[in-house]
Symmetry: D2
Subunit: 359 residues, 4 copies
């Protein structure tokens, strides 16, 4: 029996033991409390969060609300918790809420939770447009609400480490951020009209990431592409190039496409006065193949956000809970959600009018 390392570090409660599944483990320990989570919505992203809740050492999935009780029930059969059609029922039973409903319902669900004093982790975008964010903020005024917006990429282990190295001064002042973000394949055509458009649906993650490194943005210029005739008919773009500038003249360049043959292409480069940091794509294995035709050929990238950002979603939940435990306001805030949305609306306007938009 191999026993040499000090194994006392492993003598921890079952919950902390399960936390080991986080490849970059949380630096601080949560208290022993189990936090009862309610999930609003039972769609794809609700499944992602349900898995994070299942894996987190300090959470229990207590309730799931969906307008269709049968959908909620199917969901709870898979992940546990009580199904309900009523948001009030759900709020009765939980300590905190993850909002996974359609974007149009986000404000309503955030406010309902806030009125009951339940902290909220809400999926992006915070609302369908800036007008709705204004209305939401008016309703939240005086409620002392805790709302975190689910920009999961901030929590990706590679992007988070890159950000940490920037903060630590490894490359000096940030000058140019380069983000390449391509989906493996376009969504079904009937999704597109409900998506809010590429900038609010897809690029919004990149806008948040740009703000994460540059702070507030003062200028936006976007070029939309229509290389896929089917997608063009929806009135949306299938690719985009966006350049953002902050008040000091530092820039972020975002390249998006709704498709990418090699997989889910998610890269980040930050160029600074003293060096450059890169975060590459992630592959399922380290295997390289060399033959007479080519050498060191690697696996395609992890195929989509469910696998690529699995760790990020877990760490996002972790940060939400840690902030609650420590009485901090969790980042990113509703204000971060508003700013990303503001950029998305400006980018859409820029792409449609052929102008550079000042914010």
């Amino acid at each position: 029996m191999e026993t040499w390392p000090d194994i006392t570090m492993w003598h921890v409660r079952v919950r902390a033991a399960r936390a080991y599944a986080y490849r970059v483990p949380p630096s601080r320990e949560l208290a022993n409390d189990v936090i009862k989570i309610g999930i609003i919505g039972a769609g794809r992203i609700a499944h992602v969060h349900a898995r994070s809740v299942l894996h987190h050492p300090n959470t229990e999935l207590a309730a799931v609300m969906e307008p269709s009780l049968s959908s909620a029930t199917a969901f709870t059969q898979a992940y546990g918790g009580r199904p309900t059609e009523s948001i009030d029922d759900l709020l009765d039973e939980v300590d905190a809420v993850i909002v996974c409903s359609p974007t149009a319902y986000h404000p309503e669900h955030i406010v309902a939770a806030a009125r009951r004093g339940r902290p909220v982790l809400c999926e992006k975008p915070v609302a369908a447009d800036l007008g709705h964010v204004d209305a939401l903020e008016a309703e939240l005024a005086g409620l002392d609400a805790t709302v975190m917006i689910g920009f999961n990429r901030r929590f990706d282990p590679s992007f988070a480490r890159l950000h940490h190295l920037v903060e630590a001064g490894v490359i000096g002042d940030v000058e140019q951020v380069t983000i390449i973000s391509r989906d493996p394949a376009p969504p079904p055509m009937d999704y597109i009209p409900t998506s809010g458009g590429i900038f609010k649906d897809m690029t919004i993650h990149d806008f948040d990431m740009a703000r994460h490194f540059l702070g507030d943005i003062v200028s936006v210029v976007a070029i939309g592409q229509n290389l896929d005739p089917a997608l063009e008919q929806t009135g949306d773009f299938d690719g985009a190039i966006v350049t953002l500038v902050n008040s000091e003249g530092r820039t972020a360049t975002i390249t998006n496409s709704r498709h990418c043959a090699a997989g889910y292409d998610q890269r980040l480069e930050v160029f600074g006065s003293n060096g450059t940091l890169n975060a590459d794509n992630v592959r399922p294995t380290t295997v390289r193949v060399s033959t007479a035709d080519s050498t060191d050929a690697q696996d395609p990238y992890l195929d989509f956000f469910l696998s690529r950002y699995e760790d990020a979603y877990r760490r996002e939940l972790d940060e939400f809970l840690l902030a609650l435990a420590e009485g901090r306001t969790p980042d990113p805030t509703i204000e971060d959600g508003r700013r990303a949305l503001e950029i998305a609306e400006a980018a859409d306007r820029s792409a449609r009018t052929g102008t550079i938009i000042s914010l």
Copy 2:
């Protein structure tokens, strides 16, 4: 709410949902049965297996046996299950057993489980020496025992994919296998005398990997190194170079060290008649740092087998359970354990006598 992909794949029971934690998911679904697992031993490797059991969708940690009840109790407080000092008690309550006791006890525990018809997943090495394996096999004769030996590296996602590509004929016939396997730091000096020596303790994994690609080995030559004076005093080696040859003249070369500044160095290369396959070290992130001093500097490797082979241990358990569910004999078998041990003993003899050993 993003809904376009067919999310029915995610509408699965909680157990299958948890299976998603396997980065390279099992190709076949287990039946719904929950298998009660007993762990014998409560040392470091028992913790590793307990975490796999916790994460596996079809297992429950039912009991843990240790001679010291307080150790067993501390362990079950962390991971669940009933603590016991009695192997009979443990066998009463479980469907299958994972043997994590000291090597000297492996045969006794395997036989006890086999007599009660409990399938066994036993840590490597199967026994302290070939004599004990002989005795073990004699005792097992007629018992229809199911015993899998825990050579976890076969189940590492990268090594497993590399093996799959070899089997698929991507590089033609295997000619030369190159294994580099270095620990990040030597164990405590007082562990060494109980370890069985570097070849049985450390290189045995590499011997199994060599056999995994070459089949049975007919010739062994080993060079032992003594570069660390403290380690030399124990009579053991702190580094080794071993060359194995199979009956067709195909070779495996193993390079071991008890230390490595850059982390846990675990690489595999298979050179074949039509190409070469490599599996590189694994790093926690994809971040690369470029400054005036150097470019594309990456993170150190994952630090030890607990993180590097976490997925491998989970997939090992998965294969054990799948084989049980399908009525197959799980690989690697007790015979694989014997052969690796035979090579380890030959390597030790070769290194101590300066001769090439024929098997």
Copy 3:
């Protein structure tokens, strides 16, 4: 003596033997003729071309013209040839001309050579502005002049191979070109006012490269950066982000900086409907360093265009001579020079006015 390969391939004239210095050798053999080259100018880029002439198997440096005879003489002492202050003298003695004079003199020198029927390889940019290109083209009308513009990057072995793979259809239709091009350090401040500005001086290479993949450009938007206060005082930019769009909506994004800690950062990525091609930075060796701090740290990039594009300049000269030998018009043409300049002027206007410019 090792003799097995058919060494007859090596039994070639001394000139062809020297051609081996081209790491990616020309596919076609030149005839035996020795072409007498005249270089106009004796500055830094003249040295680069003189070395290419020295190494080329079919060229001889016959004459060098500079207004200062002592400069011309110093130059010819280093590389051979006859020094002269007179362009007519030079044209008397040579078969072809490389124009390395200051940009303001390019049209005059091109015309002088063309009137004498001497083919010209002219450094970029072809002229100081579009007005001068118009005047130049008017003067050349009816002269049957052969003029190649020295966009050396088209001839870089990596970029050329990447372009070849695009033409071969390996990645389907080009959709998004990403060019990152950063100098290791800014030029002396007194050079800046004479440079024509970052877009004509530095980005013009990238504009040509974008056109090489996208054809003609219909829209330009540029963001200029002023992060270096000293450089800002000159009225020029020290960084730039430019997005170009062609008539089909395909894009190129260019990121420039006048400095880069890690060296001369020269990368190209072409994203297509069926795949992606990358050309990375070049390093002097393949050595990687792994220690407890980081792993696989590599050398800084080759330090500047003199080393990075040494092969490209040689291959550029090779294409010039091959085109002459075969009676073809060498690429890139004066029209390519005009188009790159047109984009540069549009980019400058875009950056200074905050508008998207249509061409």
Copy 4:
């Protein structure tokens, strides 16, 4: 005209300018003298050296000797110099000699040059066997001969830089050297019987490289492979695994094959007490291809030693000339040649007898 860098560094004589072709330039300048070189032999390796002589700023190919005057003449037509059948004629006209004759003639040609006081750069191996080296050394005694042996790999830019980093202490003490060296394809079968066998013909380079890092070797064990039936009939091996140990127990492991689908596979890794250094294969470009099938697939390696070690041969000549200019004994010496040959003979004995050989 770009003029900002201090271009005076480029105002050098033509010879020094040509030296720029060395990608890792010599650190010290040679004097202006032109050294007249004679090449003995006109086979494949003679062509390699002739190209180095052509490119070197301080050399001139003065004469070439071959028993067949027509071969010598064909050779000098390609590279210049006077052809001759007589070694005395050649020695009359040259300052230094490069011996590229068949191995059996090396001692005779070295002695002839030494008697006339001509420094010699002799191809490896120094002689056909140790007996001939003994005889050679006896003949050279008292002659004050300067003889450098052409172990070109010491001069490869990557291997040389790796060695420099080891000497600089970057990785602490060397513990394990790993050399992988595979030819792209076997030589013609009729060459094999004249080759001296794989250990003297091919592995000898690796033996010298092992000695370069480990100093003198005290123990050798070699496994020969016979996977190619045609090659087996010659009595030679087509693959080999050799382990060398020095007096301190530090090791080198060499893996050879006479074929490799992916190209000329030439890698070196040195593992030390504080880190690891790697030198990878070299490719003609940096292009990477990503499609739905695989990502970042790279070019095959440079195809053979003529391209892979082109720079190494040039730098080898450079060191020979620098040593002469500085009155130093150039490395590697005839003694290095003897030691590599001694290991080669021991390896052959080891592989044929199945024993570990002590030196």
